[in-house]
Structures are given as structure tokens and as C-alpha cells.
Symmetry: C2
Subunit: 201 residues, 2 copies
DNA sequence: ATAGTTATAGACGACCGGTCTAATCAGTGT
DNA sequence: ACACTGATTAGACCGGTCGTCTATAACTAT
């Protein structure tokens, strides 16, 4: 017990998580076997249960690692210097659009890909998703509030409700992009977003 | 070849589809084996491949049957007598809300449950989803147009764009309901919907 | 009744899933 | 150099997967 949490993100563990994130963002949770992730990581099958208690626990860790990075990037976008809050928010959604348009519209957002599939499957993963998405909408709500204070945008209703509706909108738009294999849904989502934030189209 | 499409919806075939719909709406596509559906239907395994070519083809038939019923119900709601178009549209989303709040928020909408999971997995199922959702947004767009014509609502932008954004919003709200196990996201989605349709909250 | 088609029945194969135990490795203190 | 300890790996294990295949049953039509 000399290294309680010394190098918490062990090289191997982090590698498995990174590969799992990439592969499951493309194929889903149930459709992917541990074998695929482990061979892609160059890690033997037997090692898995040394790092994770089960596939469920692995999924939970996966989501937690994902949201940690995601929220860090969101924080960076929402505190970019020299911009109004309205511009920062638009940049966030612009960034969303870009990160979901890769390679046959497969995208890499785990909330989009795994949300509906996993919420009814694993309580641990559901709660990880709940924490992560709550972190996102909370930050968006603060940003909207700040934008109202500085006068760069205005909304009808509570900032938190608006933040949640906008997140729902973009979540749904991402699903539609997957279904239609076309980024056009992001266009209409952006129009609706600008309308709700009362920005010029 | 005496019964080309005589009793198209054979009792057995329809039974398999109905049970598959129920089970997959709860557990997803990849996580459910044919065995579970067939034993639930009281149909032996061997019969399956008489009615469906593969699990993929079954999924496609499942989605087609689902959207057929869905669109019929949507048509009924959007032509209910003695109501304005605005009221009919609100009824549609009220109905959506009710049909997704059952039993631990598992819902029964296959577009919500299977959309993200299946779009990257099977081209046939993806196209079935695309056709079905296009049917929904198309009807919503017409309804919005009619509502504008009769003066019961008004929107900023093209009715079709608005219809798509509203559908995206409710799709995302349904995912969030699954994640949070709470119907509150439907509340904010309804607020945003009324705002976009410029109806009194 | 009989021939021919349609549907049911379920065993079977090849494979892959997650899980667990036993062996191996690496590193430390002496 | 060596035993000891914990971290890591290897692979067996059992159950379930989809899909196939043959044999039987139920109809239909002549």
C-alpha cells in the first residue's frame, strides 16, 4: 500500500480507458466485447479484472474519465479571454458540431451514444451520466446568467431551465445527425439556440 | 404464392414483432438475444428465420412496424376535432411525455432508445429510423404551417426547421429523462416548446 | 387420399461473452 | 543471492450468441 493513489492514472489503465472510449463511442456498450478493447490496447485479457471490477465498473470509470476531460474543455471555452459570454456559448456549440461530424457522423460524445442505451442497463453508469450532464448544464446555466448580467444575451425564463433545454436540443440534434448521416440537424439546432438566446441569426 | 400479402401481419410474425418492440424498448438492441424475444412470444427459435432473414432484418421490420403505428397515432392527434392546431401540437407532446414516463422512465419510444445505438450499427435500421423520423417532422411541419395559417401560433423561421428543432428537443429531453430518472426535463422542454411556438406559458 | 407447399420444432455448431483461479513476474529488504 | 510479497498475466471455464440444418407437423389443392 505504498502507492495509495500515487500514479492513479496508471499507464495501462489509462490506455484501456482511452481505447474503450474510442471504440464504445463508435459501437456502443453492449455491442463491444472486452476482447476488442483489450487487444486494441495491447493488454492481455486477464489483466482487465486487475484494473476494473467488471464491465459495468469499467463503463462507469469510462464515463467519469470522459466527463472530467469534457468539463475541463468546457470550462476553458467558457472562460476564453476577450469574448462575450454569448460568443463563448456559441463557440461551445460550434465546437460540439465539429466534434460530432467526424467519420460518417459517428461523433465521439458518450452522452449521445451511450445515454439511452446504458441508462436502463446499469445504475452505476446511469449515475455517472447524471453527474456529468448535471455538470454541463450547471456550467451552461452560470454562463447564461453571466451573459445576461453583462448584457450580451437575454432569455425568457430561468437560466437553468434554458440551459437544460439547450442541452436537450443539442443532444437530440446529435442523435438526428447519426440517423440522417448529415450535419444539417446541427444547423437547425443552432438557429433555435440563437433564437432562445435572443441573438441575431 | 396464393397469399402474396394476404394476411401480411401473420399472428406469429406480429407477435414476435410486438414482443421484440417491448423488450428492445427496455433493453436496447445488442443487449437482447433472439432467445429472449422468442421464448417471451412462445415461438420456437427455428421459426424465426422463416419470418425474418436475420436479426438485422428483424430490427428493420420492428422499426417499420413501430413507426407505422406511431404515425397513425400522430395523424389522429393532429386531426382531433374541435381544437386549434396549437392545442393539437401541445397534446402531441403531452402524449409523448405520458408515454415516456412509465416504469422507471424506461419509455417506449424506439427512436429515443435505439437511435444512437443502432444508427452506427446497421444501415437498414438506420434508414428505417430516418424514414420514420422524417415522417414525424414532416407532419409536425405541416401542422405548424396550418397553425400559422389559422393564427393559433406563430414561429420565427421556416416551419420545417422549427419542426425539426422541436423534435430534436424532445428526443434529447427523453434521453435526459432516462438519465435522471425524473420527468422534470419534459417540463423544461415544454416551456421551450411554448416559447418557440410563441404560446402563453 | 395424396402431393406439395408452408410452418413449426428444437438440436447443433462455431464462436464469443464476462469471470475467475493459478501461475508468473518484478521489486524489495535482508 | 535469496526468499518473500504483491502486481500482473495467462488461459481455462461455462454460459449464451446467432444462425443453420434436418425432421416433423399442418394445410391446400387437385
Amino acid at each position: 500500500m505504498n502507492t495509495v493513489n500515487a500514479i492513479e492514472t496508471n499507464d495501462v489503465r489509462g490506455n484501456i480507458l482511452a481505447n474503450g472510449q474510442r471504440i464504445m463511442a463508435a459501437k456502443g456498450f453492449s455491442a463491444v466485447g472486452l476482447n476488442e478493447i483489450l487487444t486494441a490496447s495491447g493488454v492481455p485479457k486477464g489483466s482487465f479484472y486487475h484494473y476494473f471490477g467488471s464491465k459495468d465498473a469499467f463503463g462507469e470509470a469510462l464515463l467519469e474519465a470522459y466527463f472530467e476531460d469534457y468539463l475541463a474543455e468546457l470550462d476553458a471555452i467558457l472562460s476564453a479571454p476577450g469574448l462575450t459570454m454569448a460568443q463563448r456559448l456559441i463557440n461551445y456549440w460550434q465546437n460540439w458540431q465539429d466534434s460530432q461530424s467526424f467519420c460518417d457522423c459517428q461523433g465521439k460524445c458518450l452522452a449521445v451514444k451511450l445515454g439511452a442505451e446504458v441508462a436502463d442497463l446499469s445504475e452505476a453508469m446511469r449515475l455517472a451520466l447524471k453527474r456529468g450532464t448535471a455538470g454541463i448544464t450547471g456550467r451552461l446555466a452560470h454562463a447564461i446568467e453571466a451573459g445576461m448580467a453583462e448584457g450580451s444575451l437575454s432569455v425568457a425564463g430561468s437560466p437553468h431551465d434554458i440551459a437544460e433545454s439547450l442541452y436537450q436540443l443539442w443532444l437530440g440534434a446529435s442523435v438526428m445527425v447519426k440517423i440522417s448521416r448529415n450535419t444539417q440537424p446541427f444547423g437547425t439546432a443552432m438557429l433555435a439556440t440563437r433564437q432562445i438566446l435572443q441573438l441575431s441569426p
